[in-house]
């Protein structure tokens, strides 16, 4: 089984915004310069970079942030294209693999939020489990991979997956 790494605590808008910025800068720029240019704290910037790297949209090399091919496709694509690319990247992440496996194998294709949280807590510290769950729901909703019902507190498989 893959090591289930925590997800960074960022929003999709932040990732895409950074990619757009990166493209404007010619696809490659010094990380320190980004922070300086946009008046960002390094602590705020790092999780966004981490997320972009995790999803394969950008690479870090010698202190530079470089837009990948996939990242460029994201920036150039329309909302639907973005969602599709996002979905493909998410499916490769161990955390998503695990959750999707659970959802596919369970009869009703849903899992209780608290149940999932306690599963995540076995793999990582409590704080990270909380942020991972939040990002998982956020990313999954955006990519229309999973849905979340706040009334019943259940995470479920989005329709498109149920083929």
């Amino acid at each position: 089984m893959d090591d289930v790494a925590p997800l960074p605590d960022v929003e999709i808008g932040e990732i895409i915004g950074m990619l757009e910025y990166l493209k404007e800068e010619g696809g490659k720029t010094d990380i320190y310069e980004i922070a300086d240019d946009l008046n960002l704290e390094i602590d705020d910037l790092v999780p966004i970079i981490k997320a972009a790297e995790l999803l394969g949209f950008a690479n870090v090399e010698n202190g530079d942030l470089i837009l990948t091919k996939l990242g460029e496709e994201i920036v150039n694509g329309d909302e639907n294209k973005r969602k599709i690319l996002f979905k493909e990247s998410l499916k490769k992440l161990p955390v998503f693999k695990k959750v999707l496996n659970i959802l596919l194998s369970s009869q009703e294709h849903f899992i209780d939020k608290h149940e999932l949280l306690s599963m995540l807590k076995q793999e990582m510290p409590e704080d990270e489990a909380n942020t991972t769950l939040r990002s998982l729901i956020n990313f999954g909703r955006y990519a229309e991979l999973i849905g979340y019902n706040p009334e019943d507190k259940e995470i479920y498989l989005d329709k498109i997956m149920e083929e």
């Binding site: 909380n130 939040r134 009334e151 019943d152």
Partner: protein, 566 residues
Amino acid sequence: MDRESIHFENIVIELFILLALIGFAYVFYKREIVTVNRVANLTVRNLPYYTLRSLIRMGVAYIFSLLFSIAYGFAAATSKKRAAIMLPILDIFQSVPVLGFFPAAIFFFIAIVPNKIVGVELASIFLIFTSQVWNMAFGVYESLTTIPKEIKEAYHFFDPYGKLAFVRLYLPATIPKLVYNSIVSWSNGWYFLVACEIFAVGSASYSLPGIGSFIMESASESKISLTLLGILTLIVVIFLLDLFIWKPLSQWSRRFRYSMNPGEEEETEVWGVVSLFWEFVGKILRSLKNKIVKNESGVLSFYNIVHKVFPSKVLYAINKTILFATLLLTGLLVYKIAIVFPSFIKTIHLSYFLISIKATFFSFVRLLIAYIISVAWTIPVAVLMFYHQKGARILSPILQILASIPAVSLFPLILYYFIKFPHGLDITAIILILTGMQWYLLFNAYGGLKTIPNDIKEVVDSMGIRGPLKFKRLLLPASLPSIMTGTITAFGGGWNALIIAEYIVLKGKVYSVEGIGSLLDKSLASNNQGLFIVALTVMVLTVFLINHFVYRPLYDKIAERFNMEA
């Protein structure tokens, strides 16, 4: 308008309302006193039935409170003119010892309802209602006037005619405070429910079968095991209601709050079984709602319904009629008072005032003793709990349960043990007041201590300030504002407790101590209308004056001086 003149206007309005209340008590003072048995069958088998009777009384009063508080809060919040009169009314009813008006309420309801038992029943419901409703109405008013400006503005833009405003904006906005205040009101309600059931008017009693009268009756018959069983039943009922209704409800109400940090997780304080139960109920409700809403898109439109049923002209007419009826009734009351006033004056002797003031003084001493005892044990315990967080976590829920017992329900038990001693009733009265007062103080003091910011704590600790000096320089000042809040609430409850505790009829024998509570009862028993009204006036005015000229200035001063957000 500056603050001073508003304050003065409020005092004038509040005095007017007080006079109207006393006038009401006077007009509905009746000679006739009903005598019926309280509890017919004092057996364990009948306990569930009596409990149910009490619960129904509570439930009916609460439903009225809910509807009334929403209407009242809404009316006050939507017009400054109305608020100028409606807020002082709120204030008065929250601070006046309502129990003193209970006899008048009984006679009023007996006068308008032909069936006497129904009348007494209605009077008790009315009294529970008055103990619940004002706090809730204030919550509604406060939530409606504190809707964030940007939300109001955005709402107004997208619904310029306010067609859905009631269901989509105002009602949801009141829910967090309404639920929170309902919990407070509900425990007030228990206190008054039991008080109504064990209340004695003159030498007579009337029929209010319920858990409270069960406890009282079994104690006066010396069936102590039944008394204990009754109290235990009451505790269990309160505990279950809290578990199954109030905890889930306050959890649910969190979604109506404005703070919207995405990181904020809901606390899980609701038991698994309970939340499963409500999830199940919720699913049924939602599927029902979906079925209805699918067919008719305008179901939610309160505006549409109202305007379909009542065209605007009719609505206008209804509005005016309510206003007219209120004026007419007020006029009628004034007229009645005016007519009987001359004969009333004749029944009054100057000595009545002296008697009343003396009695009030005695009562006040009783309150003060109870207060001092409360402070003496609650503040050290609160400090101990503050220092030993672990112990506090274990102790807190136990104290919560203890505090949830309506103090009056213990009254028959205390009475049973202490009445034999010399000054037995005095001791009983003080203990009863104490049981009502202490919890407000304890929880407020502890709550105040918990709000001390960490950085201040660290600074004080780093300077090596410990022991009494730390208490004097940090702990006491930090918790003083909330202790003051607790004090005001505690005294408010204390006055009501006096009315029950100073005069008691056990198996036809009257026990009483000198005080304003017993004076009210005695004057009723001896049918001295003049004395009753004078005693009531003196008590109500005393409370009013203490509120306006002691508590409020003191509270303002303390809040200003010791505020943590400096």
